[in-house]
């Protein structure tokens, strides 16, 4: 099975159908089940990371008030929170979750091209999570080296989890990369080779473009993490000196020679910066589709949006060292990376303009997915602007070790993608479950999340300007900080607790809706893209019944002048559209406005 592409054996559909409970729900090769497995595991492990962040905040807001939080455990919470959120939650959820669910459906395929490999991918991912969580229970606990795992600190005595903790973290990452590669091969091949008839590349929804490019980045960037993980495991266990310099620890000369910690930093950030876009590009794509659907307007500048995704993907590989300005690099080197960092802001800004212009004069429906999508624009602009600050060497140097950086990357890479996750989950929930969520509960969830996120991260910018250092367990006697800084920290902690508690509304909503929710109408949002056009909702195995769909138009024919309804699905041929009004144009006018004229 592993070597037979599903796309090439459509006639074998019946043989592929799962026959037992195990093959249907556990060892499933159906992309939708695998997507839900990926999503479920990612969200569960994400909740653990959320809990860890609350423990960190308790220490920062109310120092030394909780006996269970000591300096060692604090650093372990910081490390695991960061690593889980970036890799095991966001990467897995966007690529493994949304990628798996949407690629075959939006491309009009029956499944991924290598379903067996796809199944292996999710189980390898599960194994990587198990290994990661096991590190909590080994002697010394999990690693507390920070999510960047910089040597020599990460494997030196005195750092929490410098023994088994760091080894399990590295092994877990290696297994995760194997899983991501198996999934990535599927996503790329399915997008390139298994689209339905008429689905040209330029008729693909932007969600697919974003996921596709992010997958390319993941496939090329994750090996950097794998290479560094392998070499660091050897430094830890066999005492090679790839990264470890000659050093004295506790008065004793260690056996290491002239290893290069900077080499690790290069390798790590060669993965680490594309990783930002591995998370961001799918979010860009998904939010574009949510915005267009709920604004009842074609996405503004579709081609530019596609090219911006390509440009961001290409440029994301030559900006990595802006994370290393403080490592003492050659100033010319810094100048180069500052320039490329500012250049990548251009296609990114272009996307922001296009989202805003998509909203302009749209027939905006402020449903829950749309609220989250619009909120994303706010937080992303916010995080993007502070990124321009930090992209400049002279500004980055004094701010690098302060809460300004924490605020920046949480806005741009934490809050923004998570808002898109919620927008997408609410948007596609009716399709995935066949049930409607509770709109009121959803709106409560949105407002508490949006305002909560701002009340957590906005003050952090101010703390950063004041010079409050990040990574510190306790501030100690820092005369340059006013007392108000601590009051602000306490306020941030209270906000963070409310923000975390508010997420329970989402789970209550989902579970109540699954249990007692109203049945969702077919294509309840009036969307144009293929996933809403399956014969069954939720789609059954094979997605399309007997015949695959045939596509006749792009995915953004909303409010086309002259049309009775304000959307034209991708499967509607031009012959069924009034002459002279056969396609959507960038009028900027909503359907209603056009009617009034």
């Amino acid at each position: 099975m592993a070597f037979v592409a599903f796309a090439d054996r459509d006639h074998e559909q019946e043989h592929h159908d799962p026959q037992t409970f195990l093959t249907k729900y556990v060892w499933s090769q159906d992309h939708k089940v695998i997507a839900i497995q990926y999503g479920g595991i990612a969200i569960l492990v994400g909740l653990i990371a959320l809990g860890l962040s609350i423990l960190m905040r308790l220490q920062l807001g109310f120092p030394n008030s909780f006996a269970v939080i000591n300096p060692e455990s604090y650093y372990q919470f910081v490390t695991m929170h960061g690593m889980i959120m970036v890799v095991y939650l966001l990467t897995a959820l966007f690529l493994g979750g949304f990628g798996n669910y949407l690629i075959p459906l939006m491309c009009g395929s029956r499944d991924m091209v290598f379903p067996f490999l796809n199944m292996l991918s999710v189980w390898f991912y599960f194994l990587s999570v198990i290994i990661l969580l096991a590190s909590f229970f080994v002697p010394g606990g999990t690693t507390g080296a920070g999510w960047t795992l910089y040597p020599p600190q990460s494997i030196s005595a005195g750092t929490p989890g410098a023994g088994m903790g760091i080894i399990l973290m590295l092994v877990s990452l290696a297994v995760f990369i194997v899983a991501a590669t198996m999934g990535g091969l599927n996503y790329v091949t399915t997008v390139l080779q298994a689209r339905c008839k008429g689905m040209t590349l330029m008729r693909m929804p932007l969600s697919i473009w974003g996921i596709f490019m992010a997958t390319v980045l993941a496939l090329l960037a994750f090996p950097a993490l794998l290479v560094s993980a392998i070499m660091m495991i050897l430094d830890t266990t066999i005492k090679t000196s790839f990264f470890m310099p000659a050093m004295i620890s506790a008065g004793e000369q260690l056996s290491y020679n002239d290893g290069s910690p900077i080499l690790f930093q290069h390798l790590f950030w060669f993965f680490g910066h594309p990783e930002v876009y591995i998370v961001a590009l799918p979010a860009f794509g998904l939010v574009s589709d949510v915005l267009a659907t709920h604004a009842r307007k074609n996405i503004f500048g579709y081609r530019m949006m596609v090219w911006a995704i390509l440009a961001i993907g290409g440029l994301s590989f030559i900006v990595w060292a802006h994370h290393m300005y403080v490592s003492g690099m050659n100033p010319y080197f810094g100048f180069f990376f500052a320039t490329t960092t500012l250049i990548i802001a251009v296609p990114t800004a272009l996307k922001v303009y296009n989202w805003v212009l998509t909203l302009w004069q749209g027939n905006i429906h402020l449903r829950v997915p749309m609220l989250f999508a619009i909120a994303f624009i706010f937080t992303f602009i916010h995080g993007g602007l502070t990124g321009i600050f930090l992209g400049n060497v002279v500004i980055d140097l004094p701010l690098s070790d302060t809460y300004f950086v924490v605020a920046h990357f949480h806005m741009v890479m934490g809050v923004s993608p998570v808002l898109v996750v919620f927008a997408s989950l609410y948007h596609w929930f009716p399709l995935m479950s066949g049930k409607m969520y509770n709109e009121t509960l959803g709106k409560w969830h949105f407002w508490l999340t949006f305002l909560g996120a701002y009340s957590v991260y906005l003050p952090m910018h101010y703390l950063g300007f004041q010079g409050v250092p990040r990574r510190y367990f306790s501030m100690g006697n820092t005369d340059f900080l006013p007392e108000s800084a601590q009051m602000l920290n306490a306020s941030i902690t209270v906000s963070a607790i409310i923000l975390a508690a508010a997420q329970s509304l989402f789970f209550i909503n989902i579970f109540m809706s699954l249990w007692k929710g109203k049945k969702a109408e077919k294509n309840c949002w009036g969307a144009t893209s293929l996933e809403w056009l399956t014969p069954d909702q939720p789609p059954k195995h094979g997605n399309w019944g007997h015949d695959l769909p045939v596509v006749h138009r792009w995915a953004y024919d909303y409010s086309v002048p002259g049309q009775e309804q304000d959307y034209t699905p991708q499967t509607v041929p031009a012959s069924e559209v009034p002459v002279g009004r056969e396609h959507g144009v960038s009028t900027g006018f909503s359907f209603e406005t056009d009617q009034e004229k």
């Binding site: 009009g108 091209v113 008839k197 330029m202 496939l219 090996p223 290479v227 066999i238 396609h583």
Partner: protein, 220 residues
């Protein structure tokens, strides 16, 4: 990181240039009967070939990163070049013969001759296994001389690079084993032919990677 950057520049430039060519003159909002007839396959190739090509890009990225790490690490003062065991030249010969055998198998697979396919596969497999045994004997020679992973970074890199390359070859041998079993059972020759073609590309790739790694190691 120059090696990796060059590699990535080539890959990304190829991909983006190809994608731009597909998208430049398109106006997707305009109805286009020609586009309606497009099959949905971007490349005239089967999915397995695209999958393998993608995997080769991933593997190349990994080896390029190892090579970058090697060149960066060798600038440190403790680096001392190692004398690579002479058996590596013989091993290189084995891998060349394995690659040639696969190429021959690929050509006879076109004629759908099961006996010749089996013969070619067995020869390719034997040379590949000889290569792995030879690599192991090179390790053994180093160990006998007291040259361990933690002796010097150049030796550590030797062990790591040969291990990673060997693991990739072992993965290939798994697929090779499946092909041998299938051709012995006289199953569908066409599907075996695809497998042989893919393996041929993979073996050539591994030969190229080994040639580059070996050159890097003996020249430094």
């Amino acid at each position: 990181m120059t090696i990796t950057l060059i590699f990535l520049a080539v890959i990304m430039a190829t991909l983006i240039f190809w994608l731009l060519r597909q998208t430049l003159n398109m106006q997707p909002w305009v109805s286009d009967p020609e586009a309606d007839a497009v099959s949905g396959m971007s490349l005239k190739s089967n999915a397995q070939t695209i999958g393998l090509t993608t995997f080769l890009a991933v593997a190349t990225s990994m080896f390029a990163l190892f090579a970058s790490a090697y060149t960066l690490r060798m600038t440190m003062p403790d680096w001392s070049p190692m004398n690579e065991p002479a058996v590596l030249w013989v091993n290189t010969g084995f891998l060349v013969f394995a690659s040639i055998a696969y190429q021959w198998t690929s050509s006879v697979a076109l004629k759908k001759n099961a006996k010749q396919i089996r013969l070619g596969l067995i020869i390719a497999g034997i040379f590949s296994i000889l290569f792995l045994v030879g690599q192991y004997s090179a390790w053994q020679q180093l160990i006998d001389k007291g040259m361990y992973l933690n002796t010097n970074p150049s030796i550590a890199f030797f062990y790591v690079l040969t291990a990673m390359h060997g693991l990739h070859l072992l993965g290939g041998l798994y697929v090779w084993g499946r092909s041998v079993i299938r051709v012995s059972k006289d199953t569908d020759i066409e599907s075996i032919r695809i497998s042989v073609d893919l393996c041929t590309v993979y073996w050539h790739f591994l030969l190229l990677v080994w040639a580059l790694l070996f050159s890097l190691m003996i020249s430094t």
